[in-house]
Amino acid sequence: MDGQRDSSSERRLQSAAVFKAFLSKNSTKSNTNLYDHLTRLLLKVIDEQPHNAVDVIEDLSYAVKQDLFEDRQSNLRDLPQTTAAELLAEKQRLLFTQQEDAEQEDELAETPLPNVSEIGFYLEQAGVGMGREELQRVFLALKQLVESQPVIQRCRLWGKILGTQSNYIVAEAECKEWEDEEEEKIGDEAAEEEEREAETREGDENEIDPLPQSTYKPPPLVPKEAMGTGANKFVYYVCKEPGLPWVKLPSVSPAQITVARQIRKFFSGRLDSPVNSYPPFPGNEGNYLRAQIARISAGTQVSPQGFFQTGEEEGDEEDEAPRDSYDVNPDFEGISVAEMVESLSTWVHHIQHILQQGRCTWVNLAVKREEDQNEDGEAEETEEEPDEPEQEVGPPLLTPLSQDAEIFNTPPWTTKMSSTLTSQHAAAVLRSNLWPGAYAYACGKKFENIYVGWGLKDVGEGYSPPLPPLPQKEYPSGPEITEAQDPSVEEEQVLEEALDEQEAEQEELDDTDEGELLDDD
């Protein structure tokens, strides 16, 4: 019996030894064996003692193998790599440096910088913003902008526009004096283009058979509004990330606003990228951004009624032209928050409405065209004079929001109290439903507007792009260009005979005529 038991336990030991040998067989690929691996794995479990170790044993095993691999790689030196975050941190460091200016006291008296921390506080109450830390960085960047651009008289955080690749932070500034560089530049370009056209025309004349010229005449261009008025009342600066340089946006032209109303595109985040759209947008993304900013401002910048007042002194004479200026009302007492939440008529627009023409003040294009014709001296009688177009009139400045039109059965504004539990200290919050992302708050005498969103208007059921114009009419089809079947030989012969007969008759007639004439003589 003993011998049998011995032999069975021996056999078992032997098989264990065989299995151990199997376990410690090195893998041909990684040159490790399972025995060592299990030892290491169990050592790791003993070391770390993870909770519910059996559930994560696969991952532990994986980690053990990875460690082995990394160990072998460690004789390679680390590649120094600067990440984007490090680069940005280096740039943002400049925001936190303190400038030691002697004139600081003077600046304290009247600084173009808004009270940033207060605005941040109220925005958080209202449930909008970009995060506390980010807001702080943005405000430091605003400070940087104001310091670098001494022409800025007043500056404000307008908001943020999200893009697919990066976002734009937008600052609105009022300047002391307006630069006219751009206008000149554009004028030069136009002149150059004309010259170029003239050259090509000359070239055409030299050829024997000139190519046909297009008779298409573009509709007259609506002139741009001057800096400091209408849609170009403010200058806008954008930056991608606080700390990166601010870029001044070009002024907006009516054509850009008109096209921006018809298209619906995401911003990419690069100012110089083209806007691929139908109808084609005149300009690049910077221009598109500026046009959208103008539209959003006109639609959603609001203030409590009575905060601003229009200059009443120069009363009735100027009634025809819409007023575009207002002053801060020194007697404004503030409207109670409950009232501001209750009724939309306590809020007013303080930015001019942009007309269908793409301008805030209407210009009569028909008059201008006549002048052009006189200058050109070329009479174009064929064109009928268009009827005197009716003057477009937008709602006057400081119109209450209660007069805003309802679009797609949605009220354009939603009001709310920032806090329901402590309503006596809450702020009134206004949200635009037409421009998702546009908010305004008011609390006592303080108010602010901000826009954080994609820069797109709500279009209700869905956007339908404008159709391309109808194709041009073909040449009018008449008998002279209609195709006909060639006559057969028989038909030709019949025709010839008929012609001959006619001729013969004619001759006979002539003869008789002559005879008669002779008779008369």
Partner: protein, 273 residues
Amino acid sequence: MDSQTLYFSLELVAGSGHILNIEQRTALQTSLMILRKNYKFGRVLFWGKILGLKEDYFIAQGRGEDELKDKKNLYSFNCMDWFLLPPATNCLINEVSKAARGRFIGDPSHVYERVLRIHLEDDEEHEEVVKVSEENRLAVTIHWIDEEASVVPRGAFIKNPHGIVQMNRSFCGLSDSEARKLDSFLHFREPRNQKESILGMCELNQTIDFLDVLSDDIPKGSWSLQFECARKVCVLRSLLWLGLTFYHVPVTPHNGYIYIGNGYRNLDLNFML
């Protein structure tokens, strides 16, 4: 996003413009804790907010043992009192897609009504009136958003041998370079797409790669991937559901998504890219 990490994660998605004010945040901290206890959820997520014309819906999502299948959605107006939403069945989805139009009102009992005219073959017109309540619409909308735009980083969830989807406890975050690529992010829904080839499959890990990859979405470019918060946090925004923001801090397990928006799909996406 997980209610446990709400105090810092809301700050990371604030770049989209919407934040919760301090009153709502503190209310959520209290009420979600009670919610978890009462409904016996494994964990509770603050899912987001749907903006209505009169009131906004705050949405919370309770998750059970299987994170993918055991989901329950609740809504609230004041962040304290929560109401359970019905599950989105196929029949409900059909009704909602037919009847519901326009913006959310903010009244769960509001009934959307729509008369559908169906032309039958023999020139007869058949009128069908579809009615659906806003509560049901809300349930379906949340279901749609979860189906089409909920995101998790690759490896954050595993399917265990019993087929149950759970959080991966040993997930320690994507690396910086992985977080730059859209194919390290997965749709957190029942997988729909067939893996294209065996060759493509051999590199995948069955326990991790059981979900669909974002980079397969149609149209291409329906996601915006950026690095925000001083370029330290990876932020994904859905362009199909404007308002959905996902964050992940690389090399840490922190991730989550939130939806704050109007609650409708961006049908114009194809014109806008």
